[in-house]
Symmetry: C2
Subunit: 338 residues, 2 copies
Amino acid sequence: MVETNRQVLLKRRPNGMPVPEDFSIVDSAVPEPGDGQVLLRGIYLSLDPYMRGRISGQPSYARPTALGEVIEGRVVGQVARSRDPAFREGDYAAGGFGWQTHSVVSGGSLQKLDPAAAPISTALGILGMPGLTAYVGLKTIGQPKSGETVVISAASGAVGAVAGQLAKRDGCRVVGIAGGGDKCRYVAEELGFEACLDHRGAHLAGELAAACPRGIDVYFENVGGAVQAAVFPHLNDHGRMIMCGMISEYNDVEPRPGPNLMAAVRKRLRIQGFIVSDHAALRPEFLALAAPLVKSGQLKYREDVVDGIDNAPGAFIGLLQGRNFGKLLVRLGTDPTH
Amino acid sequence: MVETNRQVLLKRRPNGMPVPEDFSIVDSAVPEPGDGQVLLRGIYLSLDPYMRGRISGQPSYARPTALGEVIEGRVVGQVARSRDPAFREGDYAAGGFGWQTHSVVSGGSLQKLDPAAAPISTALGILGMPGLTAYVGLKTIGQPKSGETVVISAASGAVGAVAGQLAKRDGCRVVGIAGGGDKCRYVAEELGFEACLDHRGAHLAGELAAACPRGIDVYFENVGGAVQAAVFPHLNDHGRMIMCGMISEYNDVEPRPGPNLMAAVRKRLRIQGFIVSDHAALRPEFLALAAPLVKSGQLKYREDVVDGIDNAPGAFIGLLQGRNFGKLLVRLGTDPTH
């Protein structure tokens, strides 16, 4: 059987919520590694909300994906052929080589993975960019203190679930917000948050007041929109709002009116955004903390695995609609460790 | 002639823009100082935008003025009678004793003024709370670096004029925003800002782009509303927005919709409010810097003096409408130093 490299290209920039016709799926020959390169056979592709920005063509902190290009994404895979002495056939590695089943990359751009240390998929989730995102947001902006109330939106998501657990370890009262009863039960019962409120209910503002009797000191913002509007008035003086993302607005064709920041004055709020890639230097200390906790089960995570790259566009649209449950991954091939 | 104490009381909470009928003016007997107290004859009453919050009855960082109470305000005056050994008749002092011509206060609550060091009125303006406000905002939040672009709204105002001059001294390119040609000329020609844009013109967004070819690194926000909306998109990555005040929205009956903080994520903005009274410890270093510069004329200021306390309500309404030009003061009596 001749292997082919199956790729998802950006065919058209989405107008609002992406539709399948915005993507094209093509087959091409599997490339040959050159000197210092390896051929990676993908096992997991990570799908993350930030990708909506990449395909929008709006100026941002990262270069947008061009039309006709493979869409950006991080992948965990296995080395199929190596011309880099640092990698042997069968090694596992993570790298950013996009929505495709195979890729030839320089060995130096890869992060080698030890499947005995943690499941290789976690390099895309709780021990990867989303986990580090949660850590950086808490460490550099939120700085929650024991006894403070921390609210986390998208609390069952790849970032929110880590953020809430870390804040709990710091002695905080952690309240999640998520979409639907199943996610809320998971967050409250499995992750052990104090409570988890369903933003699809009609009474989020009132439920927030009840769940946060001493107000909100830190808000880890992943959602924006109506959830942000419900949380904002409950922020305490000197509250911190970790501006990580606002997924509910990513498909807006026109940005919403604003900003209205009067509360930032009155309450001496610090509202600070960040991009995790600015803080790569914090990765070692994050991993030193989190990896043993994942291994021992003290740090929990959940993955939502979709089979086959052909399902990536639909899964991504589902992500933007909140249909995933846990860290969304696309299975690109067999995971021999699993 | 029997002296009377003329007072302005809060008669009614304003609904939107205050109207004269929201205030009542009454005469009462001049009180007698008790032990450790002094009778101060007011010379200058400071009117400041924060007062709109005090008379609104909204919960905030400070207790609102009650109906029938003298409206809060800071005054410079002269000691008429003293029963505090630290003060002698004829001494000048500043204190927070409200919209009234006379007041009995404990000597310990007063700040003694040396008229040889600086005009006593400056204790309410450039060397007082507004000057310190400018300093604190730049020092603790804006932290402008040489070569950066700093935009100041209400640039001819009591805070903005100091903020811009201090930022210029730090080697920044400082662009002001003010209302009307006279204020803009003053800011550009007298204060030496790089440019000053008239927000009453139709093209603020375009003029900002032209005046700030390298974008905006620090925005000192005093205004809110349409000015904030025009500035916000021009903030550079890692921009700082000093949330000092939003006077254009102080008379809103309903808060405007928002917040929309997507840019805070994308640009890693830090948006941080502050209240100057939290930072009183910075006053000595501020005065050590600013007082000699005021004396030598290197730090300029402008005052708008209205005669007579009866004109205080009208002057305050004018302040909220931007009709004042420079630090607004009400002359309550003769200034023997002037």
